[in-house]
């Protein structure tokens, strides 16, 4: 799984039958400091994060199909969790909890 920040929603009226009821979000993968890395992506969501939340993204097609309950759906990644916090090397616990990398509502 990777960490990513939700940056927006994607609306597609005309889409493949099998993913008709799925919510699609735009995400930006982030590193352990919360800084963006790599290109933005879109992903399927069944958990319900807000824009600005840091989420856990599973990059596996089978998992994504299973999440939306449709076998063989044309999806390759999905959101599997919303982060509360993360600890890196013990010492940065407080920092992560208190400011920058945190998490909710930050945009």
């Amino acid at each position: 799984m990777i960490l990513a920040r939700v940056i927006g929603t994607v609306v597609a009226t005309c889409k493949f039958e099998k993913i008709r009821n799925s919510k699609i979000l735009a995400i930006q993968p982030v590193d352990l400091e919360g800084k963006p890395i790599g290109r933005t992506q879109t992903t399927i969501d069944t958990i319900g994060p807000k824009v600005g939340d840091i989420v856990l993204v599973c990059m596996d097609g089978d998992v994504a199909s299973e999440m939306i309950g449709i076998e063989g759906a044309p999806v390759r990644s999905c959101i599997v969790g919303i982060l509360d916090y993360y600890n890196v090397d013990k010492k940065s616990v407080n920092k992560v909890n208190s400011d920058k990398v945190l998490l909710r509502g930050e945009r």
Binding site: C58, I82, Y86
Partner: protein
């Protein structure tokens, strides 16, 4: 399978119900000299690894091949704790804090 070093943990309250009870670890990649390099992955722990330990991470659909993760929403698991690595007749052995050290 990739060598990695566990550098931290992730806590997520709202998550897919199939992930409930799974320990999530942040694992940074490691080169064969024991240096931690940049790419990281969040992996489900299946062997009881802790922060600082050198581990093997398997990614992709094979991550769901273990008893603990069958049918779960995971694409990366920690499935072994490394004792030592031998490369070009150099032995890197695990020490207490999980640091890799030339013997």
């Amino acid at each position: 399978m990739n060598l990695g070093r566990v550098v931290g943990t992730v806590v997520a309250t709202r998550k897919n119900e199939k992930l409930v009870g799974s320990k999530l670890l942040i694992v940074k990649s490691m080169d064969l000299e024991g240096n931690v390099v940049d790419p990281f992955v969040v992996a489900v722990d299946t062997v009881g690894a802790g922060v600082g330990e050198v581990v093997l991470v398997v990614t992709g659909s094979s991550a769901r091949a273990t008893v603990d993760t069958q049918g779960k929403s995971v694409d990366a698991i920690v499935m072994a704790i490394v004792d030592y690595i031998e490369v070009d007749r150099n032995l890197f052995e695990k020490v207490k804090e999980g640091k890799v050290k030339t013997v």
